[in-house]
Amino acid sequence: MAIPVSILLFQSAPAHLIHLNAVDLAIIIIYFAAVLAVGFYLKSRTETGDDFFLAGREMTAWIAGLSFLSANLGSLELMGWAAAAYQYGILAAHWYWIGAIPAMLFLGIVMMPFYYISKTHSVPGYLQLRFGEPSRVLSAVTFAFMTVLMSGINMYSMALVMKVVLGWDIHVSIWVSSLTVAVYVALGGLRSAIFNEVLQFVLIWLGALLIPILGLVEVGGWTNLKQQIARNVGNTNYTHLWSTLGSFSDNPMGIHWTGIVLGLGWVISFGYWTTDFLVVQRVLAAKDLRAAKTAPIIGAGFKMLVPFIVILPGLLGLAVLPMKLTGEAAAVASGGHSYNEVLPLMLARYCGPGLLGLGITALIAGFMSGMAGNVTAFSTVWTYDIYRALIRKNASDKHYLAMGRWSTIVGVLVSIGTAYLVMQFLSIMDYVQALFSFFIAPLFGTVLLGMLWKRATAAGGFWGLLLGTLSSIFMWLWVKINPQALSIIALSSHAKDMAENMYRALWSWIVCVVVTIAISLMTKPPDEKQLVNVVYGATVIPSEGDVPFYQRPIFWAGIVFVGFLALNLYFW
């Protein structure tokens, strides 16, 4: 899930933070060679459109699940949320727990059967099956456009990180990393992206895990860490997940628990994890329905553990770093370090030669997995939902395969262009990220009603999606023009920026759902035959009665959910 872009714009470090030696550089170079090798190896196995866009639909639950998570686990996520943990404390973990786990389980258990059985190749493709061409086109065009723009923004942010942390030239970082992704995705398609994402997932963990382990050794365990943070910041709020959310003014995020539960935990999280094609595409590549249902559950199990390598280093920074980190403006003015540098600072604190190279490789791997996610999703939506739907309907499979390869390269080049545009006009970042957020919440309303309510009609789906999106844009503009409007949207004069995103998402989802229901009830019900395999009540979902209980997705979803509840109670 996207983090506030302002968090990524760090410009304050006076000189680069980390110096690499020959072993570190060898580790990084070997990594680039390895991901390219995977692409070249898999090229000969990518002969059809299904191979390229859906990885032949042959992935096991583990491969699809880890790839599903890895596509989201970008390096900017790692650095941004470590920074947020330093700034806001353990509240940042909400984005990994309530902001992810219930939605991932819901995708696996409730929604995946419809995506998978309908045999759609994309989320816009599902909308076409359920609501017709206008909804597909609206969703596909906005998704494709936003995906390449977001990819460019992430690319620029990553190059900036490499410049600040390592002193690398920003242009070299942009071109080398993005062309590497372009080569291995264009060669092996989604299969290459997925296999590399699993590789990247392992490297992210192996590169980042040492920081929390050594940090906990240094402070003497979790209890001592809490005491040390309380001493350093003067209160105990930084290590409580829920107990400070009773009022907007009691916590540093300026948010109320209703915003976290309804805005983040319901609309934003469910919108992202169940309808953002970037992540859903990985699960569509599963070899059968049970693997497709299990994959998001495996992803959820690991997602629950990610705060250990992201949030904990931020909290450890509060306890052990000798300097006080500040916001960007203060850091630039004082020549000190900003929140955004907490993860590299912790890396430099504990990691010597070799380990530093592995840590930096983890960051690069995170960036490349996120970018490959964007690029594969873009090429699929462009080829199937825009090019084939609007430009050339009846070409051969070979033609669409070639188009997929070319659109991969073009998508990367457009992303690079966006990165250079952002370099010139930094304010674009805020606007593009806001634009992306406009579509997610209403799209979730449309897909949810489409899957679970037979009475929803094509007109209802289209107008609900359009008006929900427009209402989000309206609220965003309203707050831009008149900041006082935030208190109306978030229902409190104490609300801060973070709360705006939650409540804007919630309202736009409500608008989408209300409009969809109202227009559906006013229009002719859809023909039952058209709903087969796309809607609950008109789709036969294969029974799992012959499968032992420990192999059933619902059993593992229950285990993960109990773990999720336990974590929230423990850190209450």
Binding site: A34, L42, L355
Partner: protein, 73 residues
């Protein structure tokens, strides 16, 4: 397409790569133990490079053993 998946296991490949990393990191750790650099690292006395390099090698060996091409058939 199932035969294609069985002929290429990403876990075997990961095992090879992580093993190589383990050897490099373990080697760098041993070098630092033999001739300690002037370092400001916290917990330098724990020699994290040595045991983390060993962890990577063990992880690598497990992946290579269980996902080697012959076994995957």
């Amino acid at each position: 397409m199932a035969h294609e998946q069985s002929s290429f296991s990403i876990w075997y490949f990961i095992g090879l790569l992580v093993g190589l990393y383990g050897v490099l990191i373990l080697g760098a750790g041993i070098h630092d133990l033999v001739s300690p650099p002037a370092t400001t690292l916290a917990l330098a006395n724990l020699h994290a490079g040595i045991w983390w390099g060993a962890v990577l090698i063990v992880f690598s060996a497990i992946c290579i053993y269980f996902f080697r091409p012959g076994r995957m058939g």
